[in-house]
Amino acid sequence: MTERSELEQALARVLGPSGPELSCDECFAKLDRYVELEVAGADADAAVPGFRAHLEGCPACREEHESLLELVRGEPS
């Protein structure tokens, strides 16, 4: 991941993702599937279009995704 300047980070927060993105409700509905695909090493972004873009634009959903990913990664498979 490229280190962003402070300005770029601020602009990214204000302008949000440029491409199509899911809503918060859609993101929550697909969160468990997306995380399991990630843990399995599958192409989660191809399987769930718009999910990653929403995480870029929504800090709350991003935090919840990070938490679930960390929790599931620590689980026995």
């Binding site: 991941m1 402070e6 602009l11 302008l15 399991e36 800090p59 709350a60 938490s67 599931v72």
Partner: protein, 221 residues
């Protein structure tokens, strides 16, 4: 918002689920002692996930005591249990049942923790922090570019957005107010607020494009 989130979809045939997920659903719907035991196991699972979330965020809430965190985790597990039991028919088997239920506990705990972090704090609705990152560390050429871009962004915020869009964008994207906290204060739900933010961002991008500015913000991961 929390428990108001929909998991979407309709019930799926049990045969499409993995055996462990089938067992959870069967026992949670069975009635009697089996169901009671399954609900207790589910609550324990949710409490574990809620405690996990609380532990991750503990450092961001230095004013809370250990007992406060325990209470938040328990409340989150209780609320998540209600959500999960009300949505069993929504489970589509797209993941393991345990992964599906964890997300409810994490959501409930995360929302409660954000609310506690902002309890009693004023919500800034004006773009007071722009000056913090306007020109710091820039070369003279970059500084001109940044000044122009920031001026266009500020102009777009001031002129292209509705008052509601402006309030929401400034609070969420400029001043870092958590979306659940702002939703509570404005009497909205998270989904509606994000839609407002999304529309405001689209207008702002359109305003910048109309001003002839090229956006070079790199999409991160």
């Amino acid at each position: 918002m929390g428990a108001s989130k929909s998991s979407g979809g309709t019930a799926v045939a049990a045969s499409t689920l993995d055996p462990e997920s089938q067992r959870w659903l069967r026992e949670l719907r069975s009635g009697g002692e089996t169901q009671t035991a399954a609900v207790a196991s589910l609550h324990a699972l949710l409490l574990r996930a809620a405690r996990f979330e609380v532990a991750r965020r503990r450092a961001t809430l230095p004013h809370l005591r250990g007992g406060d965190f325990d209470d938040i985790a328990l409340e989150a597990a209780d609320d998540a249990l209600v959500s999960v039991l009300a949505r069993l028919d929504d489970f589509r088997g797209a993941s393991r049942f345990t992964t599906w239920v964890y997300k409810f506990a994490i959501l409930e705990a995360a929302v409660k923790l954000r609310r506690r972090a902002w309890q009693g704090r004023e919500i800034p609705l004006e773009p007071e922090t722009w000056s913090l990152f306007a020109t710091e560390g820039a070369t003279p050429g970059e500084e001109v570019e940044r000044t122009e871009l920031l001026a266009a962004v500020q102009d777009g915020i001031a002129t292209a957005l509705t008052p509601h869009q402006r309030r929401v964008l400034v609070a969420l994207a400029v001043n870092g107010v958590p979306i659940d906290v702002l939703a509570d204060r404005l009497g909205k739900n998270r989904g509606a607020l994000y839609k407002t933010l999304h529309d405001a961002r689209r207008k702002l991008r359109g305003h910048l494009a109309a001003s002839g500015l090229t956006l070079t913000v790199e999409e991160g991961r």
